[in-house]
């Protein structure tokens, strides 16, 4: 709550903007050195994102899973856990949704909710395994979640290959229309961009994240566990139960990201060789957002926009991939390092230096 208030105080609001500006500036210098036109490149980036309804819609599609995985990682952080496994939970979420979407046939008002719920549960269950191992056996969740990522990937490939594969396609059968959560009329307005209900659920998830953690009894328990596990124990809170619960909820959020990619974007699940990266991007989003609801939401928007807009820089200004990576990397770097920016502000605007607290 306090952090929320702080987020709107003057300095905190200014810092991210200066960070983005500095990042873009550094990127521009690098592009100039490489012989590319930074102004054209940034113009292309913006055009790619806001230039037409289709791209705008697709930018939303790119942001949505990042909100979920960002929240997933942030939720675990709040409980003192480092969930590197959002990736695996994402994949399990996809798989759960695909299984229900493909193999059962029901009226839409049951089918789609069931697919969403089962996928979310798959993700949650996958997170809970790591939570259980930590609580019951003291196994570090960083290690288990990394391992579970690979298990999820190959388990999911096995399930698709052996039970759901559409011959000759390298992916599952398409999910039934009754399971899809696409929004046809909105897609048509936005020039066939892949708009789906997951976007609204992502916003609901941000609200849930805030209300659950800051307004409910269980959220309070989890935050105590995350902020000071010793104090939690002294206060009579069952820390192990909290860890398992937190990993379940975290996994559920990551799973939902996968669910909506299947039911809203692809309508099938491909056999994939390597992780999608949404889970790992979620870590960056959570850190960018300082694990606050608004922060994660904005972080996902920044990350998704840059990612999607990168194609624009490539297309419009012929900037090669390596340089685009550096540009985006420097923006993220500056945003993630507010200390650098505060120092910069002080130097630039000539305020007296504060004593550093050691």
């Amino acid at each position: 709550m306090n952090k929320l208030i702080k987020a709107f105080t003057k300095e905190s609001a200014v810092v991210p903007f200066i960070a983005i500006l500095l990042g873009l500036l550094l990127g521009a210098v690098i592009m100039l050195i490489g012989g590319y036109d930074p102004i054209l490149a940034y113009k292309s980036l913006l055009e790619k994102v806001f230039g037409n309804p289709y791209d705008f819609g697709e930018t939303l599609t790119a942001i949505t899973p990042l909100i979920f995985t960002g929240l997933a990682v942030a939720f675990a952080f709040r409980t003192g856990l480092f969930n590197i496994g959002a990736e695996g939970q994402f994949i399990m979420g996809m798989t759960g949704a695909t299984i229900i979407g493909v193999s059962v046939h029901l009226p839409w008002y049951i089918h789609a909710p069931l697919a969403v719920l089962v996928g979310a549960f798959f993700g949650g269950f996958w997170g809970m395994i790591a939570g259980y191992l930590k609580a019951a056996r003291g196994v570090n969740e960083v290690i288990t979640t990394i391992m579970l990522n690979w298990i999820a990937l190959h388990l999911s490939n096995y399930i698709i290959n052996d039970y759901l594969l559409e011959p000759g396609k390298g992916r599952s059968y398409m999910v039934d229309d009754s399971a899809a959560v696409t929004i046809g009329w909105l897609s048509r307005i936005l020039d066939d961009a892949r708009i789906h209900w997951g976007m609204f659920f992502a916003i609901l998830a941000v609200i849930f994240y805030y209300v659950f953690l800051w307004k409910t009894k269980q959220g309070f328990e989890l935050r105590v566990v995350g902020s000071n596990a010793d104090a939690a124990r002294y206060a009579g809170i069952n820390v192990n139960k909290g860890i398992i619960k937190a990993m379940f909820i975290s996994g559920t959020l990551a799973g939902l990201a996968g669910v909506f990619q299947v039911l809203g974007v692809f309508l099938n699940q491909a056999v994939s060789a390597s992780p999608t990266g949404y889970g790992f991007d979620g870590i960056a989003v959570a850190l960018l957002g300082g694990n606050t609801p608004i922060g994660v939401f904005l972080g996902a928007i920044l990350f998704g926009t840059l990612s999607y807009g990168a194609a624009g820089m490539s297309f419009g200004a012929d900037v090669p991939p390596e340089i685009i990576r550096i540009v985006i990397g420097s923006v993220i770097f500056f945003v993630a390092a507010p200390g650098i920016i505060r120092w910069f502000i002080k130097r630039t605007f000539g305020k007296k230096r504060k004593g550093e607290v050691i």
Partner: protein, 518 residues
Amino acid sequence: MEQARTVVEMRNITKRFPGIVANDNVNFKLSKGEIHALLGENGAGKSTLMNILFGLYQPEEGEIFVNEQEVAIDGPNKAIKLGIGMVHQHFKLVHPFTVTENIILGSEPKKWLGLAVNKKLAYEQVGNLSKQYGLNVDPYARIDEISVGMQQRVEILKTLYRGADILIFDEPTAVLTPQEISELLVIMRNLVQQGKSIVLITHKLKEIMAIADTVTIVRRGKVIDSLPVAGTNPNQLAEKMVGREVSLKLDKKVAVLGDPVLEVKDLVVKGRSGLNALNETSFVLKRGEILGIAGVEGNGQSELIEALTGLRSVAAGSIRISGVEVAGESPRKISEAGISLIPEDRHKHGLVLDFPVRENMVLETYYQPQFNKNGFMDFDAIDEHATRLVKEFDVRTPTIMTEARALSGGNQQKAIIAREVDKNPDVLIAAQPTRGLDVGAIEFIHKRLVEQRNMGKAVLLVSYELEEILQLSDRIAVIYEGRIVGEVNPAETNDQELGLMMTDYKQPQGGSNIEQAD
């Protein structure tokens, strides 16, 4: 004392932190060969002032003179060059290294054109220094093998090795046993006799009276007074420090004993290492009394507290609260059965520092119906509760939304006591309730504990400060290596006797063994 040369003078120092002025136009003068105490409550600004002298902070205004030369101290390295050394409250030592290795770290004597460390020379130098100042430190010992008191001497040696003539001690006695404290005082006297000058940051009046030549009192960032110790007394100092009259004596009515409420019998608890930390400990606590557990840190006190509150499993024995067996129950069950705990480490165990005061106030009761509606926190009720406790227990906080971290140590402790007492327990366990607090806060907390006792609660006081035990307890049980080795009446004993019992030099004469109380 003859008029000595001034070695440090700080003039009109002002230092601001966001929201507060830590030092407001402060003047401070240190003469050669004196022990100069810097007295003040926590947060008064005394540490800030010395951190400025040691180069850790830069002041906004003011000048510093060392040996009558104006200097700019932009970092600890500069301070060391000027002959200023600091012995921090929290030691900065590398545990697997030897004493000598720690001391020379960063300024090693070199050989082979600076390519290698001349260890032989280093051990010799450290040995000589230790002898010269009577520190009696083994240069070859590893840090993790020596006591806390010895570690502190290593810190002192570190400053001497770097040629310090001006030594700053930051709350040096906070971590020491009574015996170690008296040894430290001897060492400090030794140092000034050999021409060093010492600044002693403290809030303990007893130490100042015992050793300091001059005392400067700081309150809320301002210097209140600076005077020779010889011409003052503890009550006057306390008053100057707190800004009002403080009673150092505690008014205590005779205890009115009630029924036994906590009965511990043959309790065996395993420690971290797997060995028995408590060996068949038995005692009984009655309503209306304060039982003090005296002992040197690490003799099973922590394990006892953890076992009593359900945080540590009980290997054997029984714990009964009002006749109900609770050994092995969950912390919450035990809390509901009527035990409250003021934990030893308030930052680690007592508070969630990142949480606002109001949430800390319901840390143990948040789940109860009065703070909950259908699984949602009832913040109206929580706010009301917090506002009431803050007022009742005089917790100085800007608002109940302020993070606990921002409160001073005394107010953090008040908040914890408010929370625990408000649970209306039958048994209140207070572990080191005044550790690191200043006189004003100590007075308040002691009064509250006695008040609880007078209301017919049973209070178990675990403290490493003998003075506190002697002052508050109606009975004192001495714990040594996981056993209650004896029980004494506070009226019939003193520091010396207790100190010896705590280190097992002597069994009490005629003291009834507490185990027979059952």
